[in-house]
Every structure is written in structure tokens, then in C-alpha cells.
Symmetry: C2
Subunit: 434 residues, 2 copies
């Protein structure tokens, strides 16, 4: 582990910047964790500022992973190629039932190492023992939106306890880690929470002025179950419960009717599209081109590394750009720049984070640098195309969050990677042995 | 550029080996370019052999890319997100018409750097100026199957010239580069070659005792055109022309009926599935689970980096494992081990190369080593799963072809990477300027 200086004001020179709108060749000034200037001309005080050489690097906004369960990295590769219910019942749930708060700490640490090194600067996590996740976020220098994901299929007493825990977590951690942590209220899903319980989360979100997050319409079976149980498909069900009266983000949204897409758009509900996980679990292919066309903010999430099986957001951008072309038969569906925005700006919007997701003056200085002196970034035709259709997480060389460098030459500066790898493996072996 | 010693007999100790059938922890002995032994016990002469330390590395068969056009790396990112005919007519064809043999040399060199560093040890190339591609293969230490891809929509005189060129290339290069180069005869596609011309390639393949390769049924439109022009779908058309009387490999095969799959299986025709390219060009999703079930050998190809846009075979394995689950709704479709075999053993079989594609005694020593001391390879649950669902080309640290090391610590030993990057960029700029 090395340390780094974090000057108040500094400059990157001779860089190429994929801002999220255009390509700028020139320099970028960072001041107090914000982007103060970006352009082809050097500002007047450039020569007096500490500087970083940008030659051979492509700078772009840090990636935003809008849905996942980071502690589940401990179950990566523990069950694959199985029917969903068998996978959940024989593999995931028995192991997750044994998770301690330390398991969550080391699993989330492993995920944060992987995410930071592959260029993700902000992630949403929905899980349990969220205090321990917040602890790693604080230590790592990363930005996160944290949500205690609550399953309500339990006694009223336990429901009370979980809701109280969610509220306490929000009060403790919303705005924590110097503002890098925000909180969402999160009933797990319409099929795991009774309607009255979901309404209590909606009320709590109103009381605390927080957004809401939930899983929705991931599989055809759960949509049918919703219809059987409540006489409504999940979108109308959640709308009826007031869910969309709050700023809200739904994960998956694979099985939607055209009318449901209109309801989401009208209510400004954001969607976290998880293409890798949806394919791997055979859930289906979400109607992303239609959602984008209707004006829904669609961002990208990896889901957990138990159903992905990595946390590389370059892959999710590429999948989003590729599968909707192949399935729709339209090669212009989800073009490269739109996929890049889904992985950056729309991610920030989905998480209700302001001033984040592009490289512009006035935006938070969360950005990454890719080593483009490599064969797969040649020729120098179109950097946006190369980022979406050719790059991978391992091309990321440096990462900054709020102007502070957290990855340098592919090493995490604030985390002990070797210890985390060792402890995560030990935690998995402990789960197996218990 | 550095050099390396290539001892006649040597051993890798303390490695983990994904053989293509199982995981072996132990050692592997290489002798005269072949695998002499693999197992958990050290052989008696182990202490006298030059050894390589395998700790922290996962060894697996080199990847086999069974369809591509390497020179087209010069057009990576030059046109994306466009309708196919517009892309071909306004972007690809005008530029390709300007390609000189030097352009092919530098474009193929760029692709070979990318392929070797991402773990591909054998590739098929179908293009023009194949002498120059053979030259790079010879220099690089890589293994290749080369085919002069011939478009027959031209005068009889030009048809004669191209066929003669194909035959001369086969005579010059089949068995070249110390046996690392083999040749296939390759009419470009049923829609670009008149039937009588295809028959002449079939005859030449018989005369030279070589396999045949062609594009087939990539788009719904070309299938319909075949029916309009010849009254038959492409499979029956090629069968009628005697194409399948030779060992043959067809690329794409996206649009097949169940009967066509049976014909391919009955004739032992191999298929190169190109999932990335088929998605990006919106060609559709091939019926891979059905083909595998019918006994068709299905391997994987990247197609060119103009329609992919990289040559990372880990990505093609992952796409093959993911998209058929998502599209079919069956999470057990194309499990991890099958995807790995598609990228290795089935690739070798598709290219009619013997003793290649697994790590076993008696097989050619074409193999790669992945750095698995990284977060995304943890925990140590299932290395096959990690390779298919989590790894990327950049995880490859070392590469050997026929026992000779060609990549060491992520650097090509036999190629000048910096010069190749420079010359490829210059070649692209030259094409733009002409």
C-alpha cells in the first residue's frame, strides 16, 4: 500500500477526455474535489499547479454500478448453470443464511477492490449488515448508495425490527463518509414483501426524504405470481402502494408491457438494467430500446458476482450495446454513446446523485484513466466506440473519486488488496465449514 | 523485445491446470513441443528438468479463434451502429478497396499482438494478400489456418486468377512455419460466388486434400436471396455443390432450420459461431444449443475487429455461455465447460487440427497462464466457471505455442509491439489520406 498526495488544486495535461458528450484533447483542472475546467487551452495558472501527465491515457467519467449485492462475491462460482429455484434453494440461500457481519465486510471488500480496479467509482448495494459495507466504503475512498434490502416474509415483530434497522442505518449513514455515502430505503421485492409492509417503507422514505429501491419484474414467473396474489402486474401494484410517489429506482424490469413502460416514464422511475445477470439466470432480455425511447432513465448494474460473475461495468456497457441489436434486429439500437451514458451519467441520475457522471466544469471529479497504448485501442478512430466495444476493466490504470486518487497503476491506494484476497477466501472456507 | 530459451524438455511445477476436462493441481512436462505428462505427482526426472514456477497461475489450453479477418483491425471503430448495407457500402468496402499488401501486413500484425496477449494461440484468417498474413504468423510464433477468401462476382478471367492464387497460396504455405500454418480453400459465400465457381473450389480442395471454409446464412436476407436465386436455402445449396463432401467449416450459421441442423450434423460440417459480431451487426442469435445437441462441432470466432470490436476470445466464450441462456430461457444452456470447449477443443476440431485443444499427454503444447491472484478469481470455487464467467484477455500473463514461449509477463517475445502499433496507426492514416 502506498499513499498519495491530494492537492487542493491540480491539473492533468496532454490528456484525451471522453466527457460523456464529446472528445476533448487538452487539460482538466480539479479543485476541491470538483472539475473546475476542461478544455483544449491551458488556463492561465496552469504552470503553477501540480500536474499529472495524461499522454497515452484516456480519461472518462467513473462508472456507476446501479444494482448489486457486493457481499455475495463470496459465492462467485459456487453455483452456475442451474435452474433458478434450485440455485437459490440449494446454493445461495443456505450459504447466505450463514453470513456473519464479518463475511459481509470481507465479501464487500473483495467486490470494492474489483470494482475500483475496473473503473467503477460509485455503486449501489442492497444487502444486510449494511454498517459493515458502509465501513469498507468509508475506508476505500469509493462513493456508494447503500440500502438495507428487507425481505418481509416474516413475523410482524421481525418486520418491525428490520424496518427500524433500515431507518437507523439511514439516519446513521446518509451523508456519511464525507458525503460519499447516501442511503435508499429498500423493500426487497413485491413478491417478498406484503403490500402493507411496502407502504411502510414508502412512508419512511417520505419521512426521511430518501429515494426507494427494489427488485421488480425480473422473471416472468414473479410477474404472474403478482397477478395471482394481488390482481395486478408489479408496476401497477407498486404505483398503487405509492412507491412511485418517491424518487425511485427499480432493478431488472425485464418483463414489462408497453403500458408499464409508459407508467415508469410518466412517474420518472429509473431502471437498473442488469444484462449479464438477466442472461445468466435466463430471466430474459429487457426492452431497453423501448424504455430509452419512452424517456425512462436506464442505467446499468452487475447484480451480484454470484450471477454475473464479475463486476466489470465495461462488460455491462458492451452487453447493453450488443444484445438489444441482436435481439431486435436493429443495428442502430443502443449506440455506443448511449451505452456509455447508461454506465455513467444515467447511473448517477438513477441513484439521485447530482453533479455526477460527465466530465464538465462543476461536476464531481470522479473519473478514471485507461491505458490506450494497446493494440485493441487502435487505430485512433473513435474513442467512444473503443471504450464500449473493445475495452475491459483491466485497461483502467488510475482512478480518482472526488479528486482523490484511489487507484494508481492498477493498485488500490487505500485498501490492502492482499489481505482482502486472503480474508475473503478464508471467509468462504469458513462458510463451507460451518 | 526480449528472447527466451526454449529447452527441449521442461516442467511447470505447482500449477493449477484446467485441462478441458478436469482441474489438475500438480505439474506438466513439455517435450519437443508436446505435452509429455500432466498430473498431481512429479515424474522421476522432475528435479533434473528446467522448471517454471506455476504458483498463482491457472494453466489452460490456448484459445482457438475459428473465424476472422485480421487485417480489418485497421478499421476498428471506423463505423459502428449502422445498418449493414450502409456500413459495408459507405465504410468497409471503400476502405478495403484501398488495402495494399503492407496494410494487410500491419493490420494482421496488430491483430496478432492483440490475440496472443489475450490468450489465443490459433486463429483462422480469411482475407486477401495472404502471403503477408503468413509472413506475420511465421514471425510471431503463432499457429494459424489461412484461407484466401475469394469473391467470385467478377469476370471469368479474374475468377481464374483468384482461384489460381488460392491454389498457389495453398501449395506454398500448407505446412509452413514449421507446420504451424495449414490452409483451407475458401469461396467467400454462396451469395458472392456463382455455383459453378464454388464447385471449382470443391474440386481444388479434393485435389489438394484440404478442408473448405465459407460464410453461410449470416443474415436472413442472404438466406432469402439464395432461395430466390437458386431455389434452395444455403445448406441444401452447398450440399448440392459437393461442399460437404470435404471436411468443411461454415462461419455464422445464424439462420438455420431444424432440418438444416440435421444436414450439418450428418455431414460432420463444423460451425464457427461468432456471437459478438452477430449481435453487433444485428444478424440474430444462432441456434447453438440445438446444434450442440444435434452433435455439430460448434467453435467460436470473433469475426473481424470492425464488427466486434476486439479479438478477446474470453468474451466470445462468455457471450456463448450467456446469450443462449437469456434467449432460450434455459439457464442450463451452454454450461461453462461446454463454452470453454467451444473456445478450445471444438475450435481445433473445427479447423481440422489434430492433437490440439486440451491439456493431456500427447497433445501439442499450446497453452496459456492466467494470473489468478486477483479479486475476480476469488473465492477458489470453480476455475472453469471463473474462466468463462469472470476472466478477460488481460488476465493472460504467459503464452506458449508448441512449447515455445511467445508471451511473457504480458509482452510478446517475438514481435515489436511498439513498432506494430505505430505502423498500424500510420497505415490507417494512409488509407484515410488516399
Amino acid at each position: 500500500m502506498t499513499t498519495t498526495n491530494n492537492p487542493k488544486k491540480w491539473i492533468i495535461k496532454n490528456g484525451v477526455f471522453a466527457t460523456g458528450q464529446a472528445i476533448v484533447e487538452g487539460c482538466m483542472v480539479i479543485e476541491d474535489g470538483m472539475i473546475a475546467y476542461i478544455g483544449s487551452q491551458e488556463p492561465e495558472d496552469a504552470s503553477q499547479l501540480p500536474s499529472v501527465e495524461g499522454k497515452g491515457l484516456l480519461f472518462m467519467p467513473g462508472l456507476v454500478n446501479s444494482h448489486g449485492h457486493t457481499a455475495m462475491s463470496l459465492l462467485r462460482g459456487y453455483g452456475d448453470d442451474m435452474v433458478l429455484q434450485e440455485w437459490l434453494q440449494t446454493k445461495m440461500w443456505p450459504m447466505e443464511a450463514k453470513f456473519t457481519s464479518d463475511d459481509v465486510y470481507w465479501g464487500s471488500s473483495l467486490s470494492i477492490v474489483e470494482m475500483l480496479k475496473s473503473g467503477t467509482t460509485t455503486f449501489l448495494d442492497m444487502y444486510d449488515h449494511m454498517d459493515r459495507v458502509a465501513q469498507v466504503v468509508d475506508e476505500s475512498g469509493m462513493r456508494a448508495v447503500l440500502a438495507r434490502g428487507v425481505i418481509g416474509l416474516c413475523s410482524e415483530e421481525e418486520q418491525e425490527r428490520k424496518l427500524a434497522e433500515s431507518i437507523a442505518f439511514a439516519k446513521n449513514w446518509h451523508g456519511g463518509a464525507n458525503g460519499r455515502i447516501t442511503v435508499m430505503m429498500s423493500p426487497h421485492a413485491p413478491y417478498t414483501c406484503p403490500p402493507a409492509y411496502i407502504e411502510r417503507f414508502v412512508q419512511a422514505a417520505h419521512d426521511l426524504d430518501l429515494p426507494l429501491h427494489t427488485h421488480m419484474s425480473e422473471t416472468a414467473a414473479e410477474v404472474q405470481q403478482n397477478v395471482n396474489d394481488y390482481g395486478l402486474r408489479p408496476v401497477a401494484h407498486l404505483e398503487k402502494l405509492g412507491f412511485f410517489s418517491r424518487p425511485s429506482l427499480v432493478a431488472h424490469a425485464v418483463h414489462l408491457t408497453d403500458e408499464e413502460i409508459e407508467i415508469l416514464a410518466a412517474n420518472k422511475v429509473a431502471v437498473s438494467h442488469n444484462p449479464g445477470s438477466n442472461l445468466k439466470l435466463a430471466s430474459g432480455v429487457a426492452k431497453v430500446p423501448q424504455m430509452l425511447k419512452a424517456g425512462v432513465v436506464v442505467s446499468l448494474g452487475t447484480d451480484s458476482s454470484a450471477s454475473n460473475n464479475n463486476l466489470d461495468m465495461f462488460e455491462e456497457m458492451r452487453l447493453a450495446a450488443l444484445i438489444h441489436k441482436g435481439v431486435s434486429g436493429d443495428p442502430t439500437a443502443v449506440p455506443a454513446l448511449e451505452a456509455l451514458r447508461m454506465g455513467t451519467l444515467y447511473g448517477a441520475q438513477s441513484l439521485y446523485l447530482d453533479n455526477l457522471g460527465t466530465l464538465e466544469a462543476g461536476m464531481k471529479a470522479d473519473f478514471i484513466a485507461l491505458d490506450v497504448d494497446q493494440a485493441h485501442f487502435l487505430p485512433r478512430t473513435d474513442y467512444i466506440s473503443h471504450v464500449v466495444y473493445s475495452a475491459a476493466g483491466q485497461d483502467v490504470r488510475h482512478v480518482w473519486v472526488e479528486g482523490r486518487q484511489v487507484v494508481k497503476n492498477r493498485e488500490c491506494l487505500l485498501l490492502d488488496e492482499e489481505k482482502i484476497r486472503f480474508e475473503a477466501q478464508a471467509a468462504f472456507e469458513g462458510l463451507l465449514a460451518r
